[in-house]
């Protein structure tokens, strides 16, 4: 009984101390979210003030969900996210393992690996734009050397090769982030585990499978959540490399949102799209927590 009172008093203190932080979260996260949701039911196009603003209910959601452009953008966004984050994870893991084992020039290699990540997205995309320029770019030059037809050398004029360029730009730029996160994860794995495994006669592959990979899960999860959330919002590469083209073949949800809000100034419609993007990001986050989170807890317990 006394214990319960004590606990509740402690809990009350706890909430009181937490209150300022909760208030800040409510102000900077919940309020904009709620406002966006409310706005998504409104007609608000600031460049057409003659159009009376007002409640339009689910009209914006209906317009989005029945339009081909939204669905293509959704498929594009999911496809881009899965492929580019998958490649970054794979390449990042390989790079992290290599750097972790490196004994010479460690500082230099780490700095060199990080370089692409330090370049702003738009600049990185502009560099790739030069690389794929049909007149003087290095990549079309190589393709010409290989005997690829002239029209296939124009990578940004075909939906599939345009996507390949966008994904390559993203992988080139963001693999270092993955590497860095995984390298940090590798460095906290105690070496005595490997010594014990070696004593027990485990092969290096077994040690990698049974020690390195499971203990990397927390770092991987954090890196994946960061990268997925970012990839789901991909905009800079698209804006710089293709402008959504050819046609609308490389439009993503964030690009459509930019079009809706900054080009068309349709704030209500853009808000509805933002709500759908938020739900998509949330789905990805929950998926990670469901699959890897349980593993994370088990890992922590054992």
């Amino acid at each position: 009984m006394k214990r319960a009172v004590l606990l509740s008093r402690e809990a009350r203190w706890g909430y009181l101390l937490l209150a300022p932080a909760l208030l800040v979260i409510a102000l900077v996260a919940l309020y904009p979210l709620g406002y966006t949701l409310w706005l998504s039911f409104q007609q608000k196009i600031i460049k057409l003030p003659g159009l009376k603003p007002g409640w339009v209910g689910l009209a914006h959601y209906r317009e989005l969900l029945t339009g081909a452009r939204f669905w293509l953008a959704l498929v594009n966004t999911v496809m881009f996210t899965v492929i580019s984050v998958g490649l970054e994870l794979l390449l990042g893991l390989l790079a992290a393992l290599a750097i972790h084992r490196a004994r010479i020039l460690t500082g230099l290699t780490r700095a060199a690996v990080l370089l692409p990540w330090a370049i702003p997205t738009v600049l990185a995309a502009v560099m790739w734009l030069f690389l794929v320029n049909p007149a003087f770019g290095l990549i079309p030059m190589g393709l010409r050397f290989l005997g690829v037809s002239e029209s296939s050398q124009v990578l940004l004029a075909h939906p599939l090769s345009a996507w390949a360029v966008i994904i390559a730009t993203d992988v080139w730029k963001n693999t270092p982030f993955m590497t860095l996160m995984l390298l940090a994860g590798l460095q906290v794995i105690p070496t005595d585990l490997y010594e014990a495994a070696a004593m027990d006669g485990a092969s290096r592959w077994q040690a990698f499978r049974r020690i390195t990979l499971p203990l990397l899960v927390p770092a991987t999860l954090v890196a994946l959540i960061f990268r997925t959330a970012q990839a789901f919002m991909v905009f800079g590469q698209i804006y710089t490399l293709t402008g959504g083209g050819p046609g609308n073949a490389t439009e993503t949800l964030a690009f459509l949102n930019y079009q809706a809000i900054l080009n068309d100034m349709r704030f209500g419609y853009g808000a509805a799209l933002s709500v759908l993007i938020f739900l998509g990001s949330l789905a990805f986050a929950l998926l990670y927590l469901a699959t890897m989170g349980s593993q994370l807890k088990e890992g922590g317990r054992s």
């Binding site: 002239e150 050819p246 068309d264």
Partner: protein, 427 residues
């Protein structure tokens, strides 16, 4: 403690000095003029110095805005939709005037123009058309732009070939390109952006096609338009006159390639002319300009572009703002601006000016092109329409859909926009 005291001392001292140094605001009114940055800003500052000498009671500050048209548009809409009085005079792209006029953001200028004795008849007709909305004048054309066909004079002379005038002539340029070993025949702007709409509309208009007919009915899906769009697609795939690369090109990509001597022909705006004539250009003295090519059912019709000056409705000093507009619009200043920046004047009579003709030997040809040029659909909904056209024209150029599908889908989607927002101002 001593450090803190020193800090306070410095602060008070600074405040005191600032207080002594502050001069009372100058008498009269202050205005803000918003326009482009870079050379445009430098030249405007020069003009403003003269304006200050002539009108000591008006102080004008220049507000440089982004050169990218879409970013400048976003900035203007942000200011004006919040009814900001800060900017008095705006340099507007011609396609924004109906949108801003319908929104009530621009001061109607009919009365002032009449009182000042400004003759509207001297303005190039397309420029005037862009400045009018529902019969009222909301801006004054400041400089004009229209699509031109740049050609390699040396190649045509060496081949003894007739100059291209029709779609059919254009489709035959491949032999010329191969004979002289050039990588490209004809270059145009084909990326998914406003430039593509201009080029496609030029092909459509030059074949007698239309987007809206005279009664404002949407007539995009029609045989003449289809023929025009098919010609653009054939240029790339069937007749191999244009490289597929044009589907990724904007103005500067075309200009660079033409400047390197890679192409026989190029569609571009007049801005490229002085740049191609510089010593660093490989085609210096080897090129010329022509009106655009036309189809069997039409006459060469360029897309009209350029800028206007308008006055913000929320300006606190509309009378002073008008004084500034009149100053900038004077013949002398329009001429000086053309000479300094290569931005061509909106007044037809200035094209006969010997001084300007000396600097721009192709001026007479430009006058003809400008007087035949046509504005893009004049409606506050233009940007929505353009967005749809950009996507479908680009899809047709990259063979993601046929020209027929592109026109049908654009027609349906634009009809949807007109139905949804038509109340805000149909064409």
């Amino acid at each position: 403690m001593r450090l803190a005291l020193t800090w306070w001392g410095c602060l008070w001292l600074a405040l005191a000095v600032a207080g002594c140094g502050a001069t009372p605001p100058p008498p009269g009114v202050s205005l803000v003029l918003a326009g482009g940055s870079g050379p445009e800003e430098a030249f405007a500052q020069e003009q403003l110095r003269e304006f200050h000498r002539l009108h000591p009671d008006i102080r004008v500050t220049y507000q440089a805005t982004p050169s990218s048209a879409s970013e400048r548009h976003t900035l203007y809409v942000t200011w004006l939709s919040s009814q900001a009085p800060d900017i008095d005079v705006l340099n507007l792209d011609v396609i924004w005037v109906p949108e801003f006029a319908a929104a009530g953001w621009l001061v109607p200028l009919d009365r002032q123009a009449a009182a000042a004795g400004i003759s509207l008849d001297d303005f190039l007709p397309a420029g005037l058309a862009c400045s009018l909305y529902q019969g009222k004048l909301y801006a004054l054309p400041w400089f004009v732009d229209a699509g031109l066909l740049y050609y390699r004079r040396d190649i045509y002379a060496a081949a003894g070939a007739p100059l291209p005038h029709t779609f059919a002539d254009l489709l035959r340029v491949r032999s010329l390109k191969e004979k002289f070993g050039l990588p490209y025949g004809f270059l145009f702007q084909g990326q998914t952006y406003e430039g593509l709409v201009c080029v496609a509309l030029e092909f459509i208009w030059s074949n007698g096609g239309r987007v809206f007919d005279d009664s404002g009915r949407l007539v995009l899906d029609q045989p003449r338009n289809l023929e025009a769009l098919k010609t653009m697609v054939n240029l790339i795939y069937r007749d191999r006159v244009s490289p597929l690369a044009v589907a990724t090109f904007q103005e500067e990509d075309c200009r660079h390639a033409f400047e390197q001597g890679y192409a026989v022909l190029m569609r571009n705006w007049p801005y490229a002319y002085p740049l191609l004539s510089q010593p660093a250009s490989r085609v210096q003295g080897k090129f010329g300009v022509l009106p655009l090519v036309h189809g069997p059912d039409g006459q060469p019709t360029s897309c009209f572009g350029g800028g206007c000056l308008g006055i913000n409705t929320f300006s606190r000093h509309p009378a002073a703002a008008w004084t500034l507009v009149r100053f900038l619009m004077s013949r002398k200043n329009l001429k000086r601006r053309a000479k300094a920046l290569g931005m061509l004047p909106p007044l037809a009579s200035l094209y006969d000016d010997p001084d300007l003709q000396a600097q721009f030997p192709y001026l007479q040809r430009l006058k003809n092109v400008f007087s035949q040029a046509r504005p893009r659909p004049i409606t506050p909904l233009y940007s929505f329409i353009s967005d749809i056209l950009q996507v479908h024209f680009s899809r047709a150029l990259t063979r993601q859909e046929t020209p027929q599908e592109a026109l049908q889908k654009s027609q349906t989607e634009i009809a949807g926009v007109l139905q949804r927002f038509g109340r805000a101002g149909a064409p």
